[in-house]
Point group: C2
Chain length 412, copies 2
Amino acid sequence: MTPDPIFASVTTIEAAAGGVTAPLGFRTGAVHCGIKPSSTALDLAVLAADGMATAAALFTTNLAQAAPVLVSQQHIERTGGRARAIVVNSGCANACTGVQGLADARTMAAETAAALGCVPEDVLVASTGVIGVALKMDRVVPGIRRAVAELSPGQGAQAARAIMTTDPFPKEHAVTVHTGRGSFRVGGMAKGSGMIEPNMATMLGFLTTDAAVPAPLLRQALQLSARDTFNAITVDGECSTNDSLFALASGAGGITIDEGTYPALVDGLLAVSRELAIGIVRGGEGATKVIAVTVAHARTIDEARQVARTIANSPLVKTAVHGADPNWGRIVAAAGRSGVRFDINRLTVHVGGTLLFEKGLPHDEAAPIAGRHLQGKTVQIDVNLGSGDAAATIWTCDLSAEYVRINGEYRT
Amino acid sequence: MTPDPIFASVTTIEAAAGGVTAPLGFRTGAVHCGIKPSSTALDLAVLAADGMATAAALFTTNLAQAAPVLVSQQHIERTGGRARAIVVNSGCANACTGVQGLADARTMAAETAAALGCVPEDVLVASTGVIGVALKMDRVVPGIRRAVAELSPGQGAQAARAIMTTDPFPKEHAVTVHTGRGSFRVGGMAKGSGMIEPNMATMLGFLTTDAAVPAPLLRQALQLSARDTFNAITVDGECSTNDSLFALASGAGGITIDEGTYPALVDGLLAVSRELAIGIVRGGEGATKVIAVTVAHARTIDEARQVARTIANSPLVKTAVHGADPNWGRIVAAAGRSGVRFDINRLTVHVGGTLLFEKGLPHDEAAPIAGRHLQGKTVQIDVNLGSGDAAATIWTCDLSAEYVRINGEYRT
């Protein structure tokens, strides 16, 4: 049998070592400059492309946007989607800092640009940490200079550490994408919700690729891949002043993304983003389990997501999973109050593949099997609405007494 | 100065002793019939009017409605708003029980009706407790007969106990309303969110008055008074399969509500409902504090409620209050993600009357004063959106490690 020519162009994806510096054409520098109280913790990083990269970004929908969000948004609009570098600090979110905060974020961009020899608009800015407190610019400025001086292709892991606040572990991932027309790499790093030292969760994500990608295509691919990854996770339903997701494409790998290879780019971004997003959930405050809530046979993807999100954010479902209780009742009740209409008699609920609810009635005899599944670290909840063909998955973590302890401690 | 004649008709409200049996023309019977595992706990109550009463009710918006909700809804539609009695059991929610559950709820109404000498449609039904488990009808039926046999005007407090599941205390309240045209009484009892033995929160509320109230007017007054009381509380954002709120008007007090005295009826229902609703919050699982979130200067009441509800349901705000942390940042961030548009520079946040956030900047110097307020049992959070004239208050409780412990324990 002659191989169908379509199979020659099928994409394969393999995991690669490293994070944001796995793709060619990127370097990072990470330093301790004294923003965090610890005397050694890394708290500032610069991610730079060797030449000009195309850039795309998604920002928090919170009305209270931090200064670095406002500045990055402005820069990316002015340049039409290009950037030379991103400067990030942890330990201070530069949020609710007024006019001074905006000036400080602009200074971070300008100092990075001066050290790299580009214009300030070509630098994007991100911050995470305590809100309502001014950046110590007398430490940040020399920190930026040192980070740029130390730029190196092998320092991705240090950068992933420098952006952490209370994350229990750094999150980085990379893949090589093979297409019928050549290979390219996608890398990334992220920080998750750390709310003890700062006042709220901040999600920061940084993706890189050495494919050459026109800016509009990069933006579209970033939106599409974020929908089912970074935008499909929830730790506690909160959304911060600083949430940002960046993508840079260096073009140093020699392959140019066009209509034919665009799906491969999306796949590469999806693979890295999913790993990072689930890492954020796994590192959620007080989390002991990752929960995937899949809602299938909804009328639309939006309705599937709405039901899945309501279940994933339900404190009763999250505490039940924490206690390894196969409590189908709380899942049914959360679905029932999600605002999506469905026929309760066509609803089914599976936990770990075990049927617990069907035709309006429980299958409590199966509860012990589901209970054993819930004792593991990864929990699967499946809800079938029986009303259409659309499906969606939302990832979350369990709710533990440790979450309350972390977030109930006095700030000072 | 001659008194303005308008003052002669001003309503005054004074607290009265008792609960649902404080108004004339009502009797209750409460028994232990063996639905709850305890050998003595009251678990069934009948609230009966001496003659036919007008009736109104509001039911859960959850798609998974329990059998008693379906039956009560049907009965009140068929009679056009009259009832002789309400039969309530605790210990079993009769939810997710299919065809058998519906038959059991109908039997509860029929048995009560037979004992009272009315038709089944004149009896309303409510249940709270474990879901997905069938009612033990061999215990419920004799229980109903005994409860009817024991009907007495002085047993309101026993009824308030009989409807409890894991409520830490019974909730009942009554007032006398004096109008320019005579006085009437409003009484009530409620049960709150108890999720340890059952699978979810159930809110049940029962209001009585000895005014004569036409059914449409009673329904309208109930909706209006519930909006800012029973519908303005949240323990964890959950909404159960069994939530029900009933109002019965006996007419035994001699005053008939018309257009002129309608506002006084609403005021009376509001006074009793507010006390019961705040009692539910105070008795919320693991709660140590009641939090009132007032959002003012919104464009519309709906927008004020939406912002207040987002803040009240924020796990970060609730844990911060639990830890007595005057964390304005979490309040600002919750308002910012509520979906309501406002100008962050016109937003102000007060905690316990102390200004913590204004013009985009914090007032951290005032944090210790707000921190002392947060150490009390009643917390006031005020948010001013600076965009209109509408205001709303939502009551909630703090989030403690005890909540997680209660809800994370294995069911069996």
